[in-house]
């Protein structure tokens, strides 16, 4: 295995974690990672040895994610409906999740993809504002407002779900 591939291989767990926070469903997230790896292979020459593969790979994956989200939005709902059996969104419980984790994952899915990406990039993946802004291709000010709004939105959604949960407990 050459050095470049070895370096990319060691980034896969992080790529998978980021993809999972963007897409929730495990198989879909791994498909996104696979698309990213395939594109990275084609562009291996663009990557300077010595440079961290992390930012390079995250940038590739983010572009794939945003491009598809845009296409989905443009195509509208109608085109999305006829899913075949195997393509339907799998039950999210393909992995053991605590109630708290499940609520966080659901809440993240409910905020806009731009805010989700910005927040996750900084809060989970640990990129600096400068790095995240660079990867997402937005000015630092835009990144900051996405993070702030994303956090606030997430807080509201989590409050809603904990309220729903306490109602359910009371009902029993």
């Amino acid at each position: 295995m050459d050095d470049k591939k070895a370096a990319i291989l060691s980034e896969i767990p992080r790529l998978r974690r980021y993809a999972r926070s963007l897409l929730r469903d495990r198989d879909s997230a791994d498909d996104l990672v696979q698309d990213c790896l395939e594109r990275a292979l084609v562009r291996l020459d663009n990557w300077q040895t010595g440079e961290s593969p992390r930012r390079w790979l995250f940038t590739i994956m983010h572009h794939l994610f945003i491009d598809q989200m845009r296409k989905v939005n443009r195509r509208g709902e109608a085109a999305i409906l006829p899913l075949e059996a195997g393509e339907a969104q799998a039950a999210p419980a393909d992995q053991v999740e605590t109630i708290a984790s499940r609520e966080i994952m659901d809440a993240l899915q409910a905020i806009s993809p731009d805010r989700r990406a910005a927040l996750v990039m900084v809060a989970i993946e640990g990129f600096s504002y400068a790095e995240a802004a660079n990867i997402l291709g937005v000015p630092a000010g835009t990144l900051m407002s996405r993070i702030a709004r994303g956090r606030e939105e997430l807080r509201g959604l989590l409050d809603d779900s904990s309220r729903r949960r306490s109602i359910r407990i009371v009902e029993k």
């Binding site: 591939k5 990319i8 291989l9 896969i12 767990p13 998978r16 974690r17 999972r20 926070s21 897409l23 929730r24 469903d25 198989d27 879909s28 791994d30 498909d31 996104l32 696979q34 698309d35 790896l37 395939e38 598809q68 989200m69 296409k71 989905v72 939005n73 709902e77 999305i80 409906l81 899913l83 059996a85 195997g86 393509e87 339907a88 969104q89 799998a90 039950a91 419980a93 393909d94 992995q95 053991v96 999740e97 605590t98 109630i99 708290a100 984790s101 499940r102 966080i104 993240l108 409910a110 993809p113 996750v120 809060a123 989970i124 600096s128 900051m144 702030a148 956090r151 807080r155 989590l158």
Partner: protein
């Protein structure tokens, strides 16, 4: 010490490590003087911890073979039904978020039911992988509190659960915990250990509408699940024992569970 007015924006910067070091003391003092802002900061810190915890497990998962193969080109990549269709799931999420598509949602639900047995086995294996590896936090209620464990799990899962006695097979009960199962359901996990420290777990849920039985191992290897599904309950026994031995232990456990449920 720098003197400047801080705002909510600084809470985010401080949280994300973007606040200049020389402003930190003044910021902390400002936070102390503004309980509302302090509470907000504490809440964001807690949410971030929960976000990190929710996805921490992904880092420990083995790299799926297909991703390794895609990168190393060791084997031709077989295009799955999912390939390059991940955005459909993203799209589905958008649709679900938009709402008002009840028929579609119902459709997804009925499709998801087809794989009930695989799903059960996968959940049981995932639970086993995560919790059996834990030394101090493997269970929520220890075996020393067995009565309570049984009552609690029975109430939550909605089945009369009696923890099987597997002493004849060399296994002692360690304890148990409550887990999510299927779409809405709950599952009980009972963990057992033998003298050598080898662990097996029982995964029991009432969330089952299919009838099936079999064994299941994840694509990349790992522990095996022996499972039974019936209308109203399902059970899986997971462990890394030799298949025949696991099958024997599982049958003993299943027999006792069934006797308990229908008693």
């Amino acid at each position: 010490m720098t003197r400047r007015d801080f705002s909510e924006r600084d809470i985010h910067m401080a949280l994300d490590g973007e606040l200049p070091g020389e402003e930190r003391m003044a910021y902390d003092a400002w936070l102390e003087a503004n309980p509302e802002m302090k509470a907000k900061s504490a809440r964001y810190i807690a949410d971030r911890a929960a976000m990190r915890a929710a996805f921490a497990g992904v880092m420990d998962e083995p790299v799926p073979a297909r991703l390794r193969q895609a990168l190393l080109g060791e084997a031709p990549v077989k295009a799955s039904a999912w390939r390059s269709r991940w955005w459909l799931s993203a799209a589905a999420a958008v649709v679900l978020a938009v709402g008002g598509l009840g028929g579609y949602v119902a459709g997804v639900d009925s499709i998801a039911r087809v794989g009930d047995d695989d799903q059960l086995a996968e959940q049981a294996i995932a639970a086993h992988v995560v919790y059996a590896a834990e030394k101090r936090h493997a269970v929520e209620v220890p075996a020393s509190d067995k009565e309570h464990l049984q009552t609690w799990l029975s109430n939550r899962v909605g089945l009369k659960l009696v923890a099987p006695d597997l002493a004849a097979e060399g296994f002692q009960l360690v304890g148990g915990r409550l887990l999510p199962a299927g779409e809405q359901g709950k599952a009980a996990m009972l963990l057992y250990e033998d003298a050598k420290g080898e662990r097996i777990s029982l995964f029991v849920t009432a969330d089952s509408s299919a009838t099936s039985k079999g064994t299941y191992t994840a694509e990349g290897g790992g522990p095996e699940a022996v499972y039974w599904l019936d209308k109203g309950y399902a059970c899986a026994v997971v462990g890394s024992l030799p298949p025949e031995r696991l099958s024997d232990v599982a049958k003993t456990a299943y027999g006792q569970l069934l006797a308990g449920i229908s008693s």
